[in-house]
């Protein structure tokens, strides 16, 4: 805001010309003898005063930005950690005045890759995501914005380097052919007159609340179910036994692991927790299947004895429900090979009252839920 001596603006008439004109008027007055008819006057003009407003802006890779940076489509193959692909990068710079800069992402949109693809977002060499994490989690966390300038980013400072490392683990679900985008938002606010102590209040994203924090369990999207809260819909109290099988669940094959064995009352709930079914690689995972048996016979007229059927996915059904592996009762696929949603009812006896991933995130419900 210092004076720009080299950029003086036109001031209009020079003072000398003005005075010449004034003198002429005076001379006429004096010559006419009408001293009160033509006044002598002086004039001082401060010319060319100017009040110019500056600008606050950002550049991305050197070009002015509208505040949105899109990376992708990110098409990655399942691979080992050592062979993970290199990062997508962009630089954020200040175009004019020193600014504070916040980086944010939109909320996750249920992208099929969201839970399988892991990303690590690194700003100037430091991860802002705590390392590799599922894309959906990263988007949910970054939706509230993160400050990325070290102090205040000036136009002459080195730009802030943002690197996004994508990684699709080798043991992740097959999402071949799928692609996703990752969009960032960048926001800048002037540093001048805003104390560092007050800067946090300038984060425009801080109040962002993602519309739904639930995680879908469908299409083999890689979600690992960690717990199920089930409501018993039987008419009478019963002893329910739940066995987790397959997928390395307990390493016991179809014999499975008993993950719940207890008395339940009509409309009462009970919890099946993955920690009781130590599966290969993920101790919190409940496994790909559970079987529920309340000791009754023919609990569901549409349940086949061999477990290959189901209840047909009626309005309250889900296409699961058959027995399998020689187990009595009702089968629930927990591998997300078929949709698993809060509100689903299995065998007419068990309603999913709540469910969560191994990371504690709630699973999405049916439209009614």
């Amino acid at each position: 805001m210092s004076p720009d001596d080299g950029g003086r603006r036109p001031s209009g008439l020079s003072r000398r010309r003005l005075l010449a004109g004034i003198g002429g008027v005076g001379a006429v007055g004096m010559a006419s003898g009408m001293g009160t008819g033509a006044y002598l006057a002086d004039r001082e003009t401060f010319p060319g005063n100017v009040f110019g407003a500056g600008e606050v802006g950002l550049t991305v890779d050197g070009d002015p930005t509208d505040g949105t940076v899109s990376l992708g489509p990110l098409t990655v193959d399942r691979t080992t950690f050592d062979e993970r692909p290199g990062p997508e990068t962009f630089d954020v710079g200040a175009s004019a005045n020193p600014v504070r800069v916040w980086l944010a992402t939109p909320c996750p949109d249920g992208d099929r890759l969201g839970n399988a693809l892991e990303v690590d977002v690194v700003v100037d060499g430091e991860s802002v995501t705590g390392g590799y994490r599922p894309l959906a989690e990263v988007e949910r966390d970054l939706a509230t914005g993160v400050r990325i300038d070290a102090r205040c980013l000036g136009p002459d400072d080195d730009p802030v380097a943002v690197e996004v490392f994508p990684y699709l683990p080798a043991d992740s679900p097959d999402v071949g052919g799928a692609a996703t985008d990752l969009t960032f938002r960048v926001y800048a606010e002037q540093c001048r007159h805003v104390a560092e102590a007050d800067a946090a209040r300038s984060n425009p994203f801080v109040e962002t609340e993602c519309a739904s924090a639930c995680v879908p369990c469908e299409d083999e999207n890689g979600v690992a179910v960690g717990s199920l809260t089930l409501r018993y819909l039987g008419d009478d109290p019963a002893t329910v036994v739940v066995v987790a099988t397959g997928g390395g669940a307990g390493g016991r094959g179809t014999a499975g692991t008993t993950v719940f064995d207890g008395e339940v009352t009509p409309d009462g709930t009970f919890v099946v927790d993955g920690t009781a079914a130590p599966t290969n690689g993920d101790p919190g995972w409940i496994g790909p299947n559970i079987y529920l048996d309340d000791g009754g016979m023919g609990t569901d007229p549409e349940t086949d004895a061999d477990g290959t059927g189901g209840n047909g996915g009626g309005s309250r059904g889900n296409g699961n429900g058959g027995n399998g592996g020689g187990h009595a009762g009702v089968n629930i696929h927990t591998s997300c090979s078929v949709p698993l949603r809060v509100g689903d009812v299995y065998g007419g006896l068990y309603e999913i009252a709540a469910a969560a991933t191994t990371g504690g995130e709630p699973l999405c419900g049916t439209e009614e839920n």
Binding site: R15, A41, R43, E44, N49, A53, G54, T65, R201
Partner: protein
Amino acid sequence: MTQKESGLTRREALAGAGAVGFAALGAASGRPTGTDNWDEYTNYTYAQTDTPFNLLVGWRRTENGTLVDSSAVGAVDDVGAVGVRLVDVGNALPHDYGTASVGLRLEDPEDTARVWLRIDPHLDGADAASAALAERVTLTVRQDTGIFGIGSCGGAEGEFASAGELIADETFADIDGSALADGIELRPGLLGDGCLAPGEQRCLTFAWEFDSEGGNAGQGGAVDFLVEFAADECGAEGNPFDGNVAAGGGGGAGGDA
């Protein structure tokens, strides 16, 4: 500055820049309390004129509390010729503020004069950003009279600056087309005939502020304006700025010759 869930355009992203987190105005630094003694108006020197009225001018200006320009002690400048500016800001941001102090003295052994002031922003034809900026920048002009003469001509940073009679306190947009844009007589107080006697001084303070409210309105805009003083004979009637020979420069000395 609402960015939730919607695409964030740069304009939207910047929209709240003026409304969030601006610190309170700092106290203006600067000179100690002024005095009613012109000779103590220390940092001021005078412009020279060679017309019947030797109207001398001293000035200083600050930006965000820092002195950025003043009439050099001992130097004699022609205000118009050297292009002295009372406001010369090219990169203002919301919550910027500044001052200008001007002292006028009729350095003439015999004559008396009336002194007039005109500030004309010339907003006609301004682009949208400049017009918006004019709505956000407030200019406060006061007679620097102190309190009952005590502390007069202390400058805009003086202790009694706020006690001076208010001439204007409005945005440039409001000034445009106002009486101040046509010219007003500087006639502090109710006593006397308002004439400036030889050796007497009139001092003014100007304070501007870029309003922090308003988001990005005015970003990149500019407001140009003249600050003109005119001295006229005490017996004169009417506005000496009337009948100017050219717009923007002033000229003709009032008078229906």
